[in-house]
Amino acid sequence: MYVELKNIDKSFGSFQASNDVNFGIEQGKLIGLLGPSGSGKTTILRMIAGLETPDSGDIYINGVRVNDIPAGKRGIGFVFQNYALFRYMSVFDNIAYGLEVQKKSKEEIKDRVSELIKLIGLEGMEKRKPNQLSGGQRQRVAFARALAPNPQLLLLDEPFAAIDAKVRQELRSWLKDMIYKIGVTSIFVTHDQDEAIEVADEIIITNHGRVEQKGSPLEIYKHPETPFVAQFIGQSTILEDCTRLNGFAEVKPGEKAVIRPEFINITRKDEVQKYISAVEEGTIEAIAYRGSYFEIKVRVKGILLTTTAVLEDVYEIGEKVGVLIYRLYIFDEDNAYLLENKAMVDINSVFI
């Protein structure tokens, strides 16, 4: 493991920001630290950087315990949430600062800074001050500044939070490409699951100072290990009692279920049903246009479910439809597991 956290605890007064945090990161990976606000993700990042000191536990970078190494000597590049560019320095001086601190020669600094400015596509803006740049440009400068001294690890705190939606989309893929091009191990913090899923190779989900789950975006999406992850990821709705639904009778009392729009399929009454015994009857209660799809609320046996439909399928409010629920995440206080619709499985076995 390239970066490793072992039994990290950290409190601010009575607030426990990190509670026995353990994880490891492989070299060259792009990691997303995902969690709701106050879940301790930024604290983890700041402890790795050396801006906060853990109360107990060890942090290793490249096999070396760095707890007692000051922030400036850890060889870390850090991109702050609001960039923290030096506002009285030009773009050039901002990027050059880290190299000047290392007492590099004038030519060396000039070459490296020019190379980075070219990389971030801000040629001709070397002399501008940060407040003469757009949000996206500032972010690029912050990125270049962090990379200038060739850090062994790049940390980014909510790198896209301060940028408007359209540019954010663009910057996400730009940043991902850049990090792969340079090959630097990176960790970024975000509260936006779309961002984490799109950008990260691996996601670490935090909640109440604990690491809930670590895995690839697909693993986390498909196999949530804890009730929190099941509810946090995706567009999830919680069902208090799902035993009423066809095919889920074996769910034990006390267990709840998480359902996502993509678990549900609705069909017209007159369409041929593949899994007749699994299909429920539902009534459409609301239809909302979402740009590229419809969001449909449908009531089945008194339970209100949310699903989506393509724009070609036009339904009407009050229309009776067939509702097929493929699967549910079942969870109690400690565990979460995926449960396929039993009624569907039974039919399949008959065909085989």
């Binding site: 702050f80 609001n82 923290a84 030096f86 500044r145």
Partner: protein
């Protein structure tokens, strides 16, 4: 009908607002005129009432020159000391988290709350003949009370909060991100201060220095207690004015006072210049 009513109402509130504005402005002007402008004019006219020659004599009197020198010395030293300590105090309070921070902030403001005379008395009680530090000072032949060091100490005490008070809001508005960013790149404390913090607080610092200078030059109460009024030795300009005034040398007293007025005007011009420059720098 109601339309016109509304229009009339609108007009009357508008003229009301205008009336208030005119009233407030004239009140302000009258107040400033009576409290500030007339006394200033009085000082200058009194100073020249016996002609230019008498004015020159009062100004170039050796005791006046000595007093001016001492005032300048005390001011420059006190401002230098307070600049250093003000910077340290403001930096400590805004960039670190620690217990008792609120207490420290309050302590810095003490000179604002305490009457300068009491500040002078405290210094006399500490360093004077009855003070606890007297034996020690005497052993090393250091004189503080009724001597120049005492005057400087008193000036430092009274003007202590000016610079840190100007710096604290600016520094806390800036936050610690930029310094953290610099520290992460391995920069040392002095480099961070010089390259990152100083450009940011430059104008506030200059402004604080100007205010501190103005206050230090005019300081009377604390200095009066500790100086002992030794002419040519421990007399500052304000003290000298008082002595002349008590001797019924009114012309001389006002002539010397006019020096302080001129210095104050210079400082005010500097102050406005700094404010203008700072605004321009902020807009850039």
């Amino acid at each position: 009908m109601s339309q016109t009513n509304k229009a009339i109402q609108q007009k009357s509130t508008n003229s009301n607002a205008k009336g208030v504005k005119v009233l407030l402005i004239s009140l302000g002007v009258i107040f400033i005129f009576i409290m500030l402008v007339i006394p200033m004019i009085a000082v200058i006219t009194y100073a020249f009432q016996d002609g230019l020659k008498a004015y020159q004599e009062a100004i170039f009197d050796p005791y006046t020159i000595k007093a001016l020198q001492l005032t300048l010395l005390a001011t420059v030293t006190a401002v230098a000391i307070n600049t250093v300590f003000g910077l340290f105090a403001a930096w400590t309070i805004t960039k670190f988290k620690f217990r008792g921070k609120q207490l420290l902030t309050t302590l810095i403001d003490i000179p604002f709350a305490i009457s300068p005379v009491i500040a002078g008395l405290v210094l006399v009680l500490t360093f004077g003949k009855i003070g606890w530090a007297y034996d020690f000072l005497n052993a090393y032949d250091i004189k503080i009370v009724f001597a120049v060091p005492g005057i400087i100490l008193a000036t430092v005490f009274v003007t202590f909060p000016f610079i840190s008070r100007e710096l604290i809001p600016v520094l806390s508005a800036q936050g610690t991100d930029e310094e953290e960013a610099a520290a992460l790149m391995g920069a040392g404390g002095f480099n961070i201060f010089r390259k990152v913090t100083l450009p940011h607080i430059k104008w506030a610092l200059l402004y604080g220095i100007v205010l501190c200078t103005a206050r230090a030059m005019g300081e009377f109460g604390a200095v009066s207690v500790i100086s002992g009024h030794l002419r040519g030795k421990t007399n500052t300009l304000p003290l000298h004015v008082e002595i002349l005034y008590n001797d019924f040398q009114l012309t001389s007293a006002f002539a010397v006072a006019s020096i302080l007025v001129i210095l104050a005007v210079i400082i005010l011009i500097l102050r406005n210049l700094i404010e203008y420059k700072a605004k321009k720098a902020g807009e850039k």
